[in-house]
Symmetry: C2
Subunit: 365 residues, 2 copies
């Protein structure tokens, strides 16, 4: 398997803390003294640079006016607020690293609320001994991920824990987005007759992580699908409240996301195995590892559950986008089998796709 | 030393996951499946209960209207946004625990921006094996801390890492607050002639933590000062932009906070040792441990740097509050010694109070 874990450092930026000064993160880098300040200003402020962060206050001060200037009707909009901690292991994996995952993941949590992501916060929990060079790579890829999504990293925090009390680095990102007037996304709005659209093939991310951990080799590389789902949101907005639910099927995969929605909305779902695309190598890896791809995490896919009369139009729009070119209507919401997801298999039978009780893959995000 | 680490469970709430089901947190409690859902709904949703969280969406949806209803002039207000991760060790300490510290700490970061805290997010990173009973105690004290500050916990995330890859529990809290019209807090606004007011005695929190770690015993208990600074904010608002800077002297203590402000604002500071109150037991512990109390963390104190002409009035107001009853004007901002904090000692000499290069106390918050 080809490792695609190199970040494009064509910007040529070399780490502003040279190895001759500090090669590893020390406990003192998190202590609030001179070393903390050096780390924060040289590695973080220099890259995440924006007018809000640069104030160096305990909180970022965000005038609502800045949202108006960004084109929102502030009076009729809503805020979306989300948080996620990232503990993926390994921190560099085929197709990405924990830094871009942390930015994209929180961006996507806002997107599936129907919100345009605007501001994010970053909280690092670093294990003593992390290579400063690795931290630098992570920072550069966070900067790039934030740029792609148009979000600003406006506030942050850095803690260092003693060696053996963490695992290289954990990253929390919280985010604020703005939901335009007319958008009303909620799992409770899912109704019988709605169509379920999936933006692309599943299980790449989880299998990329597992392959890296297990040292599996494949003919072609299996790489994480980590990506910001902004482009798919742009298509959504024109359909207003015809879009009932959106969800990014991360931990627990497609099956868990659908089960959660079915349970909250008290509806059934019937999905079609034939419409769910999975890479052959991923299928193979799942067989080797004894995993069901329906439960494997994705980091760049979206589920939309929408009114029947706009499903084809949305599908067409998504397919015009790079991120949605393999989108399919994979099933529909039913009034029978309330709280349950049923799958029509490729051999024509039906099976219940349950919520898993434990977890298949620890620490995939 | 009397341990004051009991939380008042007079509510009589017993843990909704009985020991007979699960005594410890398992990896599967973070896997996104049935066990995750049980943990989240039984422990978190049941206690943090509010209309935003109960939507169970990836993001909390917060109508700006809800801020209007809370009495803010939304058009003229600003948002404050902050994040902090808490990695304190031990997680239960004299006077508090990591849960209330995480709520109070983020509340205070908003308060020192001049913002009334409104919403917070919670991200748990739990080490496999944590006692569920301990998690429950933490949750109850977070609920109580949120109630005291009038904030709602509106969104959250739970991750579980393998045993030996974390340290019981780390908690990230991010927060959103609203800054009323006319308030303009920024370290850059600090000017020569301004007075420096400190709300009470220093170093209790850091020494309480260190005493617990080292097993030190004292005649009287040294307990953490963890508290939300909301009451002190209420006095601030009427003075509008005469309040130039506020800061809560946490990691790095009073000395680091003042140095940071002096550096950003490019001013000097002259403080008076006699005016800085320290408990005798804390002084004693500092001598035993070889620590300087000026650098020890506080979790319930505020520094305000204000225009000379309102300093006495603010001092009077603070002293009327429980949290500020020992407030003192400890010094003033000077044009000489730019970027430097100088202290007039009790024996009449002057010494430079530097930024420390490393850290004295790891993981005190």
């Amino acid at each position: 398997m080809k490792q695609k874990d190199e970040i494009d450092f064509s910007s040529g930026l070399s780490c502003p803390i040279p190895k001759s000064d500090y090669e590893h993160v020390l406990l003192a880098h998190g202590g609030g003294g001179t070393l903390s300040h050096q780390l924060i200003s040289k590695l973080f402020f220099s890259q995440f640079d924006n007018e809000f962060l640069n104030e160096q206050h305990d909180s970022a001060i965000l005038p609502l006016l800045s949202l108006r200037q960004a084109g929102f009707n502030v009076d009729k909009s809503k805020l979306a607020f989300t948080t996620d901690s990232y503990v993926v292991q390994p921190i560099f994996f085929p197709g990405g690293n924990i830094g871009e995952l942390a930015v994209n993941g929180t961006v996507n949590d806002l997107v599936v609320a129907g919100a345009k992501p605007v501001y994010i916060s970053v909280g690092f929990i670093i294990e003593e001994g992390l290579l400063i060079e690795d931290l630098w790579k992570i920072v550069l890829s966070m900067k790039e991920a934030a740029r792609k999504s148009g979000v600003k990293i406006v506030t942050g925090d850095t803690k260092v824990v003693d060696k053996g009390k963490g695992d290289k680095i954990f990253i929390n990102t919280s985010g604020i987005g703005v939901i335009k007037e007319g958008i009303n996304i909620s799992p409770k709005r899912c109704k019988p007759g709605d169509k379920i659209i999936l933006s692309g093939r599943i299980a790449d991310h989880g299998i990329a992580i597992m392959s890296a951990r297990e040292g599996l080799e494949f003919e072609t590389a299996i790489v994480s699908d980590t990506a910001p789902l902004i482009d798919l949101l742009d298509c959504i907005e024109k359909f207003g409240d015809k879009i009932h639910v959106m969800r990014d099927p991360t931990r627990g995969g497609l099956a868990s996301s659908l089960n959660e929605i079915a349970e909250i909305a008290n509806v059934g779902m019937l999905i079609d195995e034939e419409k769910i695309s999975i890479l052959d190598e991923v299928k193979g890896a799942c067989e080797i590892l004894g995993l069901d791809p329906l439960y494997i995490a994705n980091e760049g896919k979206m589920i939309a559950i929408v009114a029947n009369d706009i499903a084809d139009d949305l599908l067409k729009e998504w397919r015009d986008k790079e991120l949605g070119k393999e989108a399919e209507i994979i099933g529909e919401v039913t009034s029978e089998n309330s709280g349950t997801v049923v799958m029509k298999t490729t051999i024509g039978s039906k099976r219940i796709v349950d919520m898993i009780s434990g977890e298949q893959l620890p620490r995939i995000c």
